[in-house]
Subunit: 337 residues, 2 copies
DNA sequence: CTGAAAGCGCTTACAG
DNA sequence: CTGAAAGCGCTTACAG
């Protein structure tokens, strides 16, 4: 039904080798020939069959995006949507397509095998959240080029990440600038690297400030609104004056708990979040938070992955982007806006 | 590097035709032979090369998911994440993979061509929101099996949808049961089918109730929190006692505006939303809303699409699922919870 | 700069 | 029930 290379070759009176060359931008084609072939291609709206190309050339132009999704409603965190959007934009630009796998735990093992064995993709982006994800180890042992979004505690893998420690430190420092008598944090799950790192950043800022970490309060949340709410409730008894929540979603929940307790933000309790999701600027008061350059991350990820695909065996790269503190009204040290 | 059909054939001392048959579940294989081959496959963890299979058989086992994303931050609406999750689960079950295309307008035309021409997928799911999406027309003119999530004003296409009119009607009826003197609605964009349909449902409920539609207030929102907020502000002057917001995100924004105006929910203004996203149960008061069976939609979509792929030329099917009213405290006619 | 030919790893009539 | 052979639509040395 659709045209093949062969058809285009006949229509332009050249061999299919030549057509293939012009399609792939090979320099060894006379300018006039190239123009003629290109014209035929355009006129007939020809699209090469990707399966055939892959089989012959050993590569497709698609990359796999793996997101561990089974765990609760984490996938509905706007973070994933935003990152995916960034990645997708970058792929369009580079003429790659994205194969999406939302890994629910039950299918995980089977899925790894399918991904690796079926040679459907040239490379993989894993958005791994767990500290010691078997997916990452499996990928690491395979020959498949891949990039981990985040970090891994022990393995040397190519990764793109935002500096979570720095992000948490920025937010915590800002909270400390109002000299609260007691500061607390609602952490992310400690079996996730982001959860751990953001707690580390919090701890560093506290220590830098000349305080003892022991005098500090920490409750573990699960990155959901409800988790933030519950955590804040249990924190309330200790009467903190400042709280760093490791995600905006949790900050939102915490604000709800604070409001229900009849306390004012920031007068009674100052609060800061992390991620700068759309809602952050709409809460009341607007939420001080940390912005991650998600669009840039997507582009860097794809560029690095393509580099890896074309030139394997390079030294492992770890790219860490700087987060940015966004000051709003919830910490009290800025004009309410 | 990885094994091929040929390797498996040699290892099990049969021809590759036979191996292919056992892999594809062809009945014409002696039971003993099948077992032996299967054993070799398992032991070597063999995965067929999908590109080769596609080239030979004319089909891959992947379906494309197209989501128009460029328009604002719509993609970060939890609705998309939830639907995608449902679709992904269904695909895992059926051993299909998902190719994801987030269509930003600039790339749209080019993308349609790539999708249709490259024969990368067996079928397509389009999550089209616009009333008259060129993507849908293009798909409709092609031979590619596809399912539209939503509805189309004029084209006869295979579609899976939730009854948006009914959903809006349920919510509006519930609001009317408290006999407000004046009822208003914050609609979705009227260039989207859901926006139009939910307004229709609102209008039907109002008319049913013996009221005149003209006595009613309607402001168009854009499905974001901010849009709901702005719309509610402009509605406030007219002092409605009840508001139906066409999405929970907009309802959240509207609640913020109401609160800022110093009014109480539901005492002064009752409010209902649509979608039952995670936040709906966490707002204060909890939001009455309409739940869509997204998981079921995903499964039905995949099943129907697979049916379409295997048996083309069937009469066009339109599957419409029933939404469910979730009564919470924001309408005042239930115990606060 | 260009073409003829082999080959990528499968599936599928066709014969037996 | 099984195998030999052709073919899917490309790419890529190899020769010229």
């Amino acid at each position: 039904m659709s045209l093949t290379l062969e058809d285009i070759a006949q229509l332009s009176s050249v061999s299919r080798s030549t057509v293939s060359r012009v399609i792939n931008g090979d320099a060894n084609v006379r300018e006039e020939t190239r123009r003629r072939v290109l014209e035929v291609i355009q006129r007939n709206n020809y699209q090469p069959n990707l399966a055939a190309r892959q089989l012959a050339a050993g590569h497709t132009k698609v990359i796999g995006l793996v997101i561990p999704a089974g765990v609760g409603t984490i996938f509905s965190d706007p973070y994933f949507a935003q990152f995916t959007q960034g990645l997708s934009d970058a792929c369009s630009e580079k003429e790659y397509s994205i194969m999406l796998w939302l890994a629910s735990p039950e299918y995980e093992r089977r899925m790894i095998r399918r991904i690796l064995g079926s040679s459907l993709v040239d490379g993989i982006v894993v958005l791994s959240t767990l500290v010691d994800d078997p997916l990452v180890s499996a990928l690491h042992e395979s020959q498949m080029p891949f990039i981990l979004i985040g970090s891994h505690p022990s393995l040397e893998v190519n990764s793109v990440d935002v500096d979570n420690i720095e992000g948490a430190r920025l937010a915590t420092r800002h909270l400390l600038s109002t000299s609260p008598s007691k500061i607390a944090t609602i952490t992310g799950p400690q079996n996730m690297m982001v959860g751990r790192e953001r707690y580390q950043g919090f701890a560093q800022a506290v220590t830098e400030n000349g305080r003892k970490l022991e005098d500090t309060l920490a409750v573990e949340g699960d990155f959901t609104e409800m988790g933030g709410y519950t955590a804040m409730k249990s924190l309330l008894a200790a009467q903190p004056q400042a709280v760093f929540a490791a995600s905006d979603l949790m900050a939102t929940g915490a604000m709800r708990a604070i409001r229900e307790a009849g306390l004012r933000i920031p007068a009674d309790i100052a609060i800061a979040g992390h991620d700068d999701m759309p809602i952050a600027s709409q809460t009341n008061p607007a939420l001080t938070t940390v912005r991650q350059p998600l669009g840039q991350m997507g582009l860097l990820t794809i560029e690095t992955l393509i580099e890896l695909i074309h030139h394997p065996g390079q030294p492992t790269r770890r790219i860490v982007l700087k987060p940015e503190l966004i000051i709003r009204a919830s910490c009290g040290s800025s004009p309410a806006n």
